[in-house]
């Protein structure tokens, strides 16, 4: 029995990981989204019947286009071929693809490992808040020198 917060089959999880690595690829200092955001995406999809339908169809569409364009499954294609397949899906099924990208970004950029890799503190805005400088408000004197700009009659 898969956990309630999980929806993807093993095969789908593997496909999603490869797709996510094309959406946010690994670079020198940053891991790819395939390593970071699959679990988040799985939980997100599992929470809604609508999203389950959208993702079932969307993921099938990716494999279908991989077969049709390059006669292989998505995993067997080169990176450039995979991007080409994803561009086709983006054009054909905008709703699915936008949701996929948006939620990939959500899963990736709220992950503590990524937040630290960006050089930020891995914490919420509260309770510590931030120290922000007042800035150079003395320049307001220039505005006052330019005079009144409102009308009241």
């Amino acid at each position: 029995m898969p956990a309630l917060h999980s929806f993807f089959s093993d095969a789908q999880s593997e496909l999603v990981a490869r797709v996510l690595d094309r959406i946010v690829p690994p670079t020198g200092k940053m891991p790819g989204a395939g390593e970071i955001a699959v679990e988040y995406l799985d939980r997100f999809v599992a929470a809604s019947a609508n999203h389950k339908r959208t993702f079932s169809n969307g993921l099938s569409g990716i494999e279908l286009r991989a077969q049709r364009s390059f006669s292989g499954n998505f995993a067997s294609l080169t990176g450039e071929q995979q991007d080409e397949v994803l561009r086709q899906v983006e054009a054909a099924d905008r709703r699915f693809f936008d949701l996929l990208v948006r939620q990939t970004y959500n899963g990736y950029y709220t992950n503590p490992r990524i937040i630290e890799a960006l050089g930020l503190e891995a914490r919420g805005p509260q309770p510590r808040g931030y120290r922000v400088e007042m800035g150079n408000i003395s320049l307001m004197e220039n505005v006052q020198r330019r005079g009144r700009i409102y009308r009241d009659r």
């Binding site: 690829p25 990736y108 950029y109 309770p127 808040g129 931030y130 408000i137 700009i149």
Partner: protein
């Protein structure tokens, strides 16, 4: 149906910005005040600001669009016939819960648009007449700011120093000064020093997911505790379906659903609508009877009409240096009234405000802050992300849309809330004047960002999720031929029915309206108290 036989003196529908201020003011005068609110109290300590994934909550339960939230006490809004999506929050405090707390007043000329510019109508009162109420409201909420703004007559001292400008403010001010344009630190309903028992802001950033510190002056932490201490009764999870009238044609109470979905009745000597510019016409249109077949207080046919939103364009500059705009209150740094007043040589009448915005955390940056230019997926993703994250300033161009009767709120024939009350349907289009104004504003904001040193400027010409300001749908005026209520919010058709929210605005100005909405509620409350013997007789 459960019947309450004791009528209250004054029954307020809606516990947001206007209802809270009105309840507080009236409860002072030994008037028996009750407020019904369909939402509930929120607990500031539980706001998701402490979570590392706080950006998800901005898109979920704190999404300003009720259609995206999936919270049972919201009502859906049919937004298929408007390019601007209406936004609101239903809770004690109303939309001040998720608001950015940018707190400008309407300008003196906003009350005189017919006299000065020959468009729409003048308001029944002037800036000077409202000024004592602006001042009283400022003391109640606690305003951060600094006096001396040349776009206004001199104001009373602000309660605390301004919100720090930070690198965002310092950078944009360079642009303003290079061009010689007006700017000023924003008046904000956020305290920067302890005030009135509330803690000071610590610049955490996302005011829109609720203020854990109570530094932001949402109505649940300002007016409501004081109103309740004075004896006002606030019932939550009480969703009003309709206002009822007696055979004399006067309002005699409301029918509402309680938390369990039971139908209840509350009688009242006076009913006060405070449900915002969409909720108020919705409930009045749903209050039909043989005496009022087109909805209550609608003999003018103007109920729900003249809806104004303030169209918003977002212009984002990308800078080389780190500005760290995710630190500090998002909506409050610097404002400009340079293009606020009419100059017909620009090709349009009236004007717009620039509000300088900070930025967001990494997730919303990637999606495109204010839906402006999402970061592309694929091989270039990290490069573009690094160029943008913490390095943008967004100038919001917020224009005055003039009242037009075809922009309106109706009842939807098919969609309803969870108690079966018909949902509102919004029909709205931007006028030629508004389109020219926004184009002008986008060009000037681009010039400003370039003068400040931006190396790239990105534009979202009309932000769909910008319907924060719901105005004009039950406007004030002199008689039934031109308006729904008089200059004190009293319905021409039903003398013991008042409207005190943004619905009564004659025009919209080009500033965020909450400060004016609350000042107006206090002004109407004073009129009410002076005439209460007569009004409650």
């Amino acid at each position: 149906m459960t019947q309450s036989n004791d009528p209250v003196d004054v029954l307020i529908i809606g516990a947001g910005a206007s209802g809270a201020a009105f309840a507080w003011s009236l409860a002072d005068a030994n008037i028996n005040v009750m407020c019904l609110e369909q939402g509930d109290w929120l607990e500031p300590a539980k706001y998701p600001t402490t979570r590392i994934d706080w950006e998800l909550y901005k898109q979920g339960e704190f999404n300003p669009n009720p259609n995206m939230r999936d919270i049972p006490w919201d009502y859906p809004v049919n937004e298929s016939a408007t390019p601007i999506a209406p936004l609101m929050y239903n809770a004690v405090g109303g939309s001040t819960i998720h608001w950015s707390a940018h707190f400008p007043r309407m300008h003196p000329s906003d009350f005189l648009v017919r006299s000065l510019d020959g468009v729409a109508d003048d308001w029944p009162m002037t800036y000077q007449q409202l000024e004592p109420y602006f001042d009283l409201n400022d003391r109640m909420v606690g305003v951060a700011g600094i006096t001396g703004d040349t776009a206004f007559p001199p104001k009373s001292d602000r309660q605390t120093p301004p919100i720090p400008l930070g690198k965002t403010g310092d950078t944009i001010v360079k642009g303003f000064e290079k061009l010689g344009w007006h700017w000023w630190p924003a008046d904000s309903a956020i305290i920067t020093q302890p005030y009135d028992g509330r803690a000071a802001c610590n610049n955490c950033g996302p005011c829109e997911i609720g203020c854990t510190l109570r530094a932001k002056a949402s109505a649940d932490v300002t007016y409501w505790p004081r109103a309740i201490a004075r004896g006002a009764v606030l019932k939550t999870n009480a969703r009003v379906r309709e206002i009822t009238v007696g055979s004399d044609g006067l309002a005699d109470g409301v029918i509402y659903y309680d938390a369990e979905g039971h139908v209840r009745r509350q009688r009242a000597k006076v009913v006060v609508m405070a449900c915002n510019g969409i909720g108020t016409p919705r409930l009045l249109l749903n209050s039909r009877s043989s005496l009022f077949p087109d909805g209550l207080a609608n003999s003018s046919g103007l109920l729900g009409r003249n809806l104004m939103f303030h169209p918003v364009s977002m212009v984002m500059g990308v800078f080389d240096e780190r500005l760290d705009g995710y630190q500090g209150p998002l909506g409050c740094s610097v404002v400009s009234s340079q293009f606020y007043e009419t100059d017909l040589s620009r090709g349009f009448v009236r004007g717009y405000q620039f509000q300088v915005l900070r930025s967001s955390g990494p997730a919303i940056t990637a999606q495109g802050f204010t839906h402006t230019a999402p970061i592309p997926w694929g091989q270039g993703h990290h490069r573009v992300f690094d160029e943008r994250f913490g390095r943008t300033i967004t100038v919001s161009v917020m224009g005055e849309d003039l009242p037009e009767t075809q922009n309106r709120v109706e009842l939807d024939p098919d969609i309803a809330d969870s108690d079966g009350i018909p949902a509102p349907r919004v029909i709205y289009a931007m006028s030629e004047n508004s389109l020219k104004m926004q184009d002008h504003g986008i060009a000037r904001a681009t010039e400003l960002l370039e003068a400040a040193g931006a190396n790239e400027v990105l534009v979202n010409p009309l932000l769909r999720a910008s319907g924060w300001h719901l105005l004009g749908t039950a406007r004030m005026g002199s008689h039934v031929g031109n308006s729904v209520v008089d200059g004190y919010g009293r319905c021409h058709d039903v003398k013991n029915l008042f409207i005190i929210d943004g619905s009564v605005f004659v025009t919209a100005g080009a500033v965020n309206p909450t400060s004016t909405i609350q000042a107006l509620a206090l002004y109407i409350a004073d009129y009410f108290k002076k005439n209460s013997r007569h009004l409650l007789d």
